[in-house]
Symmetry: C2
Subunit: 116 residues, 2 copies
DNA sequence: AGCGGTGTGTAGTACATACTACACGCATGG
DNA sequence: CCATGCGTGTAGTATGTACTACACACCGCT
């Protein structure tokens, strides 16, 4: 699933319950031209900037990280964290690359619970 | 320390032991114009592309991830890993954001040693 | 019949990215 | 003294990013 198709699917879904989720109205709330959003949804244009994707995610009540990922982008705050200690986070991420979700989730929980 | 200054420092260091590390010769091996490398080192031009940074890192025997980080970029393979499971890795990285190096290293080791 | 709202086609813009090509003056060695 | 290599200044290019502006045809409503 690419960025455009996903956004279109989500928006059309929302629209079934709320007429305010037309291309035009979403575009207006997000602050872009309707024609542009239309083209992005159809993949005729590449995904928008991080800032625009964030506003779009908020309007559609979608997770910004997921939309950014579909656009092949990484949240600015995550990039900063990694760039501050690239070897450390590089090693960690490459180590966890093939790990199943539950193993990673377990680490997240254990770190959060302060077993460290 | 910005990207340019760092590269310049490393290259000048290497040069003390090996005359092959002039701007011109490094540029030639890396595959860019000497004037361009010169400008990048002095911060007159923004850092090069990921591919060029990788070739530069190899020539200078520096860690590519470190150079990429100084350029504010994230290695393509790491981006792919994160983009495949954005929520999971997002949660993990944000959880580890303020953690000291040794805590993260411990996780890396424990994952590698297969205590999971 | 006409008005508002719909999606979309076409064209164009401003800025960033990622460089190349050529030229200049300096210095060091044969 | 001049050839070689050095770093660097100036100018220019191609491609990508991130959009805007306007126009068109269609559909439902009153």
């Amino acid at each position: 699933m690419d960025f455009g198709s996903y956004v279109r699917a989500v928006r059309e879904g929302r629209r079934e319950a709320d007429v305010r989720f037309s291309v035009r109205q979403v575009a207006q709330r997000v602050g872009v031209e309707p024609a542009y959003l239309s083209k992005v949804e159809r993949g005729e244009q590449p995904p928008p900037s991080e800032a625009t994707i964030r506003r779009l995610a908020e309007d559609l009540e979608e997770d910004a990280d997921v939309l950014l990922a579909l656009a092949g982008k990484i949240s600015g705050d995550l990039r900063e964290v990694i760039c501050r200690r690239p070897q450390l986070f590089g090693a960690l991420i490459r180590e966890l690359k093939e790990m199943p979700d539950h193993a990673i989730l377990r680490i997240v929980r254990e770190v959060r619970d302060g077993s460290w």
